[in-house]
């Protein structure tokens, strides 16, 4: 007898598409270079109030770089603040729980249904980024769940795999997560000291000329020969505070200037993102 408790799927079966890895030579022909200035982030589309059943929600998409790939599409829903279950011990402030998950079809490599270490890592980073902006002691004994599903990841899995590091894409994903979560929190009406937006800056080496490495914001790994280092920053523009900082890469320890420049660029990127965020929230409050 059919199981009545769950929604039964359709009768037929389909197989997920499997992409064979394109030969190296072919991808050579598609070499693209960065088309926007070094200090401009990609355009993004943000909308709040997309999930009617959630207390707050937002949808963010960052447009693709334009070479046939796909951009980043995130949807975030906020549930709460709501009372914690009886079993949890007393908490004088709100308990944030963040949950980031790639949809199984979000990337070229199919994702599993259980969160992998990268996704859990994103969750913790996001929690740190948001905790700095929420006024947590307004809600003792309560919790809020922030659930982000990455509907579509960056397209450049292949390139980044060729370079051996997936973290660059993960950073872009994190910055998007932070921005969309902040919008959803505002939509849910949870008190924050400020909006928080994410931004990424990277030290890249471009193809061809042996020019000195340069710093760009919102990097797309496939557009550059090599990404030397990158940092993802969550920034409160009004308070001028950084709530989360993630730095990765190889930099000469002596050159402190590069570090600060990278962070400044990251802040700049997050400020740009914040403008979209504020604009979007204004629209809804209207």
């Amino acid at each position: 007898m059919a199981d009545r408790r769950r929604i039964n799927g359709p009768v037929g079966t389909t197989n997920p598409p499997i992409y064979d890895d394109a030969p190296e030579k072919q991808s050579e022909g598609f070499k693209v270079t960065r088309s926007r200035p070094a200090n401009v982030i990609r355009k993004m589309y943000l909308k709040t109030g997309v999930t009617p059943s959630a207390s707050g929600s937002a949808y963010l998409e960052i447009e693709s770089s334009g070479n046939g790939g796909s951009g980043l599409k995130l949807s975030c829903s906020v549930h709460g603040p709501r009372a914690l279950p009886r079993s949890t011990p007393f908490s004088p402030h709100i308990i944030l729980s963040t949950h980031v998950k790639f949809a199984p079809f979000a990337t070229k490599q199919r994702r599993g249904y259980i969160r992998d270490p990268i996704e859990r890592d994103l969750g913790t980073h996001l929690e740190t980024a948001l905790r700095g902006s929420i006024i947590a002691d307004r809600w003792p004994k309560s919790g809020v769940d922030i659930i982000i599903s990455i509907v579509e990841g960056e397209q450049d899995r292949e390139t980044s795999k060729a370079q051996g590091i997936e973290a660059w894409d993960t950073m872009n994903a994190l910055s998007g997560c932070i921005t969309v979560a902040s919008a959803a929190l505002a939509d849910a009406g949870i008190d924050c000291v400020d909006t928080v937006a994410g931004g990424v800056a990277a030290l890249v080496q471009d193809a061809g000329n042996d020019a000195a490495p340069s710093i760009v914001v919102d990097p797309i790994p496939s557009e550059h020969e090599k990404v030397l280092a990158a940092c993802c920053i969550a920034y409160l523009p009004t308070r001028q505070e950084v709530t989360n900082l993630w730095f990765k890469g190889d930099l000469p320890a002596s050159d402190m200037d590069v570090y600060t420049q990278l962070i400044e660029k990251g802040i700049q990127a997050s400020k740009s993102a914040n403008r979209v965020l504020v604009d979007c929230l204004n629209e809804t409050v209207g």
């Binding site: 009406g189 924050c192 523009p237």
Partner: protein
């Protein structure tokens, strides 16, 4: 040295007298003691302050002493913090005997923090860029939290409140509203500056104000004009904080002033609908094919038919070919069927029976046998008409079951309060049947009279179990229709399964029917009642297609056994002089056996027995078989051999013929290929598996192209009525109307049925079509 001493020495009268002047002249009117204290205190303080004393005016010292009630320590601390520069060491200034170290530490700490706090205060001349702007709190719509994109959701309570509020507002003078607005504008220090760029924060926190109205009452979003303007990169805070990087990095200013907003992608716009604020984009006239940019793409890949198309075309070809051959089959009839069987017989590889076979001529053996004739009958009727009870009584009276068994059953039945069902339990052996008091599946039993050996097929009367009844009826030579004569029951039965069952058994090819008018004891053997029922039922049965000579009526009482085996002893029943039920049964001639036809047998049960891992039971519909024969099981198409067989009541036998109920022990076949409802046939002349067939059907209900279940004995398959070819005349079989849309109940028509899977069916077989738990038609395969 402080206040409490004062209080101890208090002269209440003097104090009270003094009280009157206290408010206006308190400072001049120091009492002589106070004046002395003041002098001493001042001296002490001056001494403590030492070099710094000149920085403090004397009046201040006196005032602070008065304020602190001559507490020299506190006064000094206060004076130092107020008038003397913080870097100057308090340890040096404070008198060591009176000022504890702790105090000094506190003093220094507070001094430092205060200085730090007020360092940047403009004290009145506020530069314009630092002036705060007060903005009236935004008018927010009342509603529930969340999902702000949609219009606000309101709870019922809120709606009620809102309605009341509106009414009240309408009543009250509008002047009040204006007043508050005026107050609001007064609040705004600089209304002009409350322009667009200052709104972000108000907007962002607007919601917060709404939701935490109780906590943040009266709080007005305070916006600093300067730092919230991200559009202006050159922030002009007096002291540059580390984040003022744009200033330090003038080569690379942030270029975009407008926020980098993108249009929603196709995905997003499908999700959220077209955004209202976005400018209407002209629909694209040219649609680029996807992947055109990729060099590996070649547009002529779509010039040829796709692999799918190729497959579909091939399938279509086969289908039309199949249809053609089906048509040929229909036209040529048996000759083509012969051709098919010929072809199949050419295919046969190894049908040689196992060495065990005796290669008997079964038919001549059967002729030689001078045994009893065999017959099987099905007992049908409305639910609770007393079918099982009657058969239980019959078996008891014929000594097939002994009294002891029945007594035991009666005791068990008593336990669950169903004593009246004790006889029915002889046949209803399943747990569920007993607890519910209804027959669910066919029960078979056997008994013998002098001339015949009978097989009882006790069918369920409940309409939910009609498929089981069909399975039973398909094995029967004739039928007993049991009718409940008690008041009301007959009438309801005639509308219910009495009617449906008789229609079904007639269309299954049963022509002889014995009507047992049961429970006549409840109506005191009333002859009128019997006659009334006889009249109605015979009319109905002849209308159904039974010939009057094949219908017999017997008044019985199943519970007491009257007129079953022996004549009724009840004086009230003396009017009946006809045959008993058993006599009627013996008088019935079993239908002619199709002995010479190829073997056909429907499997009604599959089981494990000691003789074989796979044994099947069933009634041989046509043909004959013997031990060692090769058999073909359809639809699986697997071959098996008869290891041994048992006939009728479990006697081992060498052969069996049509009409007998047999148990076959098979070998050389995997159990997964043998299922209930499958057909066992002669490998030389196998039954074909078909998924389309035409049917001459008698409609019980309105027929139209629809989903149906096709039942044939135990076998049932899902399918649908593909088309209705014609309506036929009931008697002559001539076509009266071609391609009708629907078929009315009671008319005969030719319909074409397709099945979802292939099942073994052949011309001349009788099937029943059911839909949604109702029998809609029954008929003969053509």
């Amino acid at each position: 040295m402080a206040r409490h001493q004062n209080i101890r020495n208090l002269d209440y009268e003097a104090e009270l007298e003094e009280y009157g002047a206290f408010s206006d002249e308190e400072e001049e009117e120091l009492s002589p003691e106070d004046q002395v204290r003041m002098r001493e205190g001042t001296a002490q303080v001056l001494e403590a302050l030492g070099v710094e004393a000149h920085k403090v005016p004397k009046t201040q010292i006196e005032e602070s002493l008065w304020h602190y009630y001559w507490d020299v320590d506190k006064t000094i601390t206060y004076l130092i913090s107020k008038y003397i520069d913080p870097p100057k060491k308090p340890a040096k200034t404070a008198p060591p005997k009176t000022a504890p170290k702790q105090d000094a530490a506190i003093a220094s700490a507070s001094r430092q923090s205060f200085a730090h706090l007020f360092r940047d205060l403009p004290w009145g001349n506020i530069p314009p860029e630092r002036q705060a702007v007060l903005i009236p709190p935004p008018q927010l719509p009342a509603g529930l939290l969340g999902g702000s994109g949609a219009p606000p959701k309101m709870s019922k309570l809120q709606q009620l409140a809102a309605a009341r509020k509106k009414k009240a507002e309408e009543k009250s003078a509008s002047g009040e509203v204006e007043q508050t607005q005026v107050k609001m504008t007064e609040l705004t220090v600089n209304d002009n500056q409350a322009s667009k760029e200052n709104r972000p924060l108000a907007g962002v926190f607007g919601k917060r104000v709404k939701i935490s109205e109780t906590t943040a009452q009266g709080r007005i979003p305070l916006t600093m004009a300067e730092p919230t303007r991200p559009e202006i990169p050159q922030a002009q805070a007096p002291e540059a904080t580390p984040s003022q990087h744009q200033e330090e990095d003038p080569i690379d200013p942030e270029p975009a002033v407008a926020p980098p907003k993108a249009q929603p992608s196709a995905f997003a716009s499908t999700l959220f609908g077209p955004s209202s604020d976005s400018p209407k984009r002209r629909p694209r006239e040219v649609f680029a094919l996807p992947y055109m940019a990729i060099s590996s793409y070649s547009p002529d890949a779509f010039g040829k038919p796709s692999p799918d198309d190729v497959v579909l075309a091939a399938q279509a070809k086969v289908a039309t070919a199949g249809k053609k051959s089906a048509n040929v089959h229909n036209k040529k009839g048996s000759s083509s069927a012969d051709g098919v069987t010929n072809q199949v017989s050419q295919l046969k590889i190894d049908d040689t029976p196992l060495p065990k076979s005796r290669n008997l001529n079964v038919l001549s053996e059967f002729e030689k046998q001078k045994g009893k004739k065999t017959a099987s009958f099905v007992v049908v009727g409305h639910v609770d008409a007393g079918k099982s009870t009657m058969m239980g009584r019959l078996l008891l009276d014929l000594n097939v079951v002994d009294q002891r068994t029945v007594d035991k059953l009666r005791k068990e039945a008593e336990k669950i309060g169903k004593t009246s069902f004790a006889l029915a339990w002889v046949l209803d052996q399943r747990h569920e049947e007993r607890s519910r008091g209804v027959t669910i599946d066919i029960a078979t039993n056997r008994f013998e009279t002098e001339t015949t050996s009978f097989t009882i097929l006790d069918a369920p009367g409940h309409r939910d179990f009609i498929p089981n009844m069909i399975a039973g009826a398909s094995q029967a030579d004739f039928a007993i229709l049991v009718i409940d004569a008690s008041t009301g029951a007959f009438e309801s039965g005639l509308k219910g399964q009495t009617r449906e069952h008789s229609l079904l058994i007639r269309s299954m090819g049963v022509s002889r029917i014995i009507v047992a008018v049961n429970k006549l004891d409840t109506v005191n053997w009333s002859q009128e009642r019997f006659d009334e029922i006889t009249h109605q039922v015979s009319g109905f049965l002849t209308a159904t297609g039974f010939q009057p000579k094949n219908i017999a009526f017997v008044p019985v009482s199943g519970l007491h056994g009257d007129n079953l085996v022996r004549k009724s002893t009840d004086p009230a029943a003396s009017w009946y002089t006809g045959k008993t039920l058993v006599e009627e049964l013996e008088a019935s001639e079993p239908s002619a056996r199709a002995l010479a036809k190829p073997l056909r047998m429907t499997i009604s049960e599959v089981m494990r027995t000691p003789q074989s891992s796979i044994s099947i039971t069933g009634r041989i519909d046509a043909g004959s078989l013997q031990m060692g024969d090769a058999l073909l099981v359809q639809p699986s198409g697997e071959k098996a051999y008869v290891k041994s067989l048992q006939v009728d009541d479990g006697e081992p036998a060498d052969w069996a013929v049509a009409g007998q109920n047999v148990v076959l022990h098979l070998s050389n076949i995997d159990p997964i290929h043998v299922r209930v409802g499958d057909i066992v046939c002669d490998p030389a002349k196998p039954i074909q598996c078909v998924d389309t067939f035409t049917l001459k059907a008698l409609a019980f209900d309105i027929l139209m192209p629809m989903q149906v279940d096709v039942h044939r004995g135990r076998l049932h398959a899902a399918g649908k009525i593909e088309a209705i070819d014609a309506i036929l005349d009931k008697v002559t079989g001539k076509v009266t109307k071609k391609k009708p849309m629907i078929v009315k109940p009671g008319t005969v028509s030719r319909v074409r049925v397709t099945l979802h899977s292939k099942v073994p069916l052949e011309a001349g077989q009788r099937v029943v079509l059911r839909s949604g738990g109702q029998t809609v038609a029954a008929g003969l395969l053509e």
